[in-house]
Symmetry: C2
Subunit: 118 residues, 2 copies
Amino acid sequence: MVSLQAMRLAQDGVLTSNCPSRVVLDHLTSKWGVLVLSALADGTLRWGELRREVDGISEKMLAATLRTFEADGLVHREAYPEIPPRVEYSLTALGREAAEALGPLLRFAVEHAEEIVG
Amino acid sequence: MVSLQAMRLAQDGVLTSNCPSRVVLDHLTSKWGVLVLSALADGTLRWGELRREVDGISEKMLAATLRTFEADGLVHREAYPEIPPRVEYSLTALGREAAEALGPLLRFAVEHAEEIVG
DNA sequence: CCACCAACTTACCAGAAGGTGGGTACTCTC
DNA sequence: GAGAGTACCCACCTTCTGGTAAGTTGGTGG
């Protein structure tokens, strides 16, 4: 099942303009969403590690993306009340599913980048 | 292979801020990119059909998205010099690969929409 | 006493994304 | 001869995205 039409056979009216799946799609395909989720795909990372892992992201955007995903239940935030502060981010079960769904997309982008940009 | 780190083991420096794969990712995850590609996933569609299929898209954005994908070699545009004009859009082989890569993402969004938005 | 660390937040601002409403060209129908 | 249908393009304007830079907190090292 890959096409819009096929999905609509299974569930009528899905992915229309006011369908909740559109919101989920928007969050996942936000500028930094794919990258942040993929960075967390193989384990817990601290704030600073994430910032280094996702090359080019600003602090503001990292915070915003993480907040969205936390509210969506895709990312778990664990704060340790130490000095200096330490906060660890990891994927929830749902987040891991999302990351897996993004895998093929990431692979396609990497494999065909030269071909397409050229 | 799902994570950033895993992809970087295979290819160093991939998906950094000036990597071509970032551009491809941006095109595919543009607001209407996923929807347009998925709409074309099971066959050729005319301009008007696409507009109806991708609920909520404006003419301007449909044109822009199609132009980008045509330039990227993902979409084929076939114009028939008839009256009234007829233009058919379809996926290239590369475009079909892209659509397949987007399938899991689409499915995840639909399946977990209620869970996440709620 | 001052700077520094982490992990943020906030204010400000530029530029891009994207919507609206118009126009085009041609012909066929009413 | 008025209107509809098709596949667009263009100018204008608004909204939103996202970057930069500064401030915050509470201790700790120099």
